[in-house]
């Protein structure tokens, strides 16, 4: 079975406007993903350009078994990762932040639970906050900063899942990790970003 994606068909047939729309729409998430691997904005834009070139070159091989989004972000992640490997001797291997981040253990400060293992200090309600708070530039900047501070193995998963919108199975394939590892990383990443939001919105 082949699913026909009208947007993809338009690009295939040479519709420049359709291609521009596609590149504009996916750019913000592509930039976030590329920046997880390369050292600066210029390098990120280079990789994004290379990804689109590869996308076009392989367009006739794309059979619609995955979504266009998955295919595109797969190309980008692979290019960005191999570029990072080439550049890695110039980049410190881990930042101090990553060294300090535990990869196991609970994701919520254990002091927030009482001796009965129930919440002693539950998360303060967000429903009483004005709706605009969740749409403000400041809040979104806080979310970005929280994601940027994650160690790369967590950051790449939350970027692919929650920012780029890939499915769990797709991320498992793309990063060649086990389904349970994918879930653990996603959980740790989301929990860390939620905590930072809690602190910010307090």
């Amino acid at each position: 079975m082949t699913l026909v994606d009208p947007e993809l068909e338009a690009v295939r047939s040479g519709d420049e406007g359709a291609f521009e729309q596609l590149t504009r729409r996916h750019y913000p998430a592509m930039l976030r993903l590329a920046m997880a691997y390369v050292r600066d904005r210029e390098a990120a834009d280079d990789v994004i350009q290379e990804a689109w070139l590869t996308f076009l070159k392989t367009l006739d091989r794309f059979e619609g078994r995955s979504s266009l989004r998955t295919w595109l972000f797969g190309i980008l992640a692979n290019l960005a990762r191999s570029r990072r490997r080439r550049e890695s001797r110039f980049i410190p291997f881990t930042s101090l932040f990553e060294l300090g981040t535990r990869s196991r253990g609970p994701t919520v400060d254990q002091r927030r639970f009482g001796p009965d293992d129930r919440w002693q200090s539950p998360p303060p309600s967000w429903s009483s906050l004005p709706e605009q708070v969740f749409e403000s530039k400041e809040t979104l900047a806080e979310v970005r900063a929280a994601i940027d501070m994650l160690p790369r193995h967590l950051r790449e998963v939350i970027l692919l899942r929650d920012v780029a919108g890939l499915s769990g199975d797709e991320v498992v394939d793309l990063l060649a990790i086990s389904p349970s590892n994918q879930r653990v990383r996603l959980h740790r990443a989301r929990a860390a970003v939620r905590q930072r939001l809690e602190d910010f919105l307090r």
Partner: protein, 77 residues
């Protein structure tokens, strides 16, 4: 099951990977725990915010460059 355990199962719950019986226990806990209900709701909000957090528009130079790439590709036999 207690809150300490439930919070660590939230992503498995959202991913739909809990067993049928675990899912039932998870949901039963939520019906009587405001703290965990709020926590789950906050994770959902976090996911939504992450989805809208990328907002840098494409730079004009890159857009022009990509148009050139597209025309080259189109011009090839």
């Amino acid at each position: 099951v207690n809150c300490r355990q439930i919070v660590e199962l939230m992503t498995d719950y959202l991913e739909g990977t809990l067993s049928e019986s675990d899912r039932r226990r998870f949901e039963a806990h939520l019906t009587r725990c405001d703290g965990c209900t709020e926590y789950l709701e906050q994770l959902r909000t976090t996911m939504k915010l992450a989805a809208t957090s990328a907002d840098q528009p494409i730079p004009a130079e890159l857009e022009a460059e990509l148009t050139r790439v597209f025309r080259d590709w189109k011009g090839q036999p």
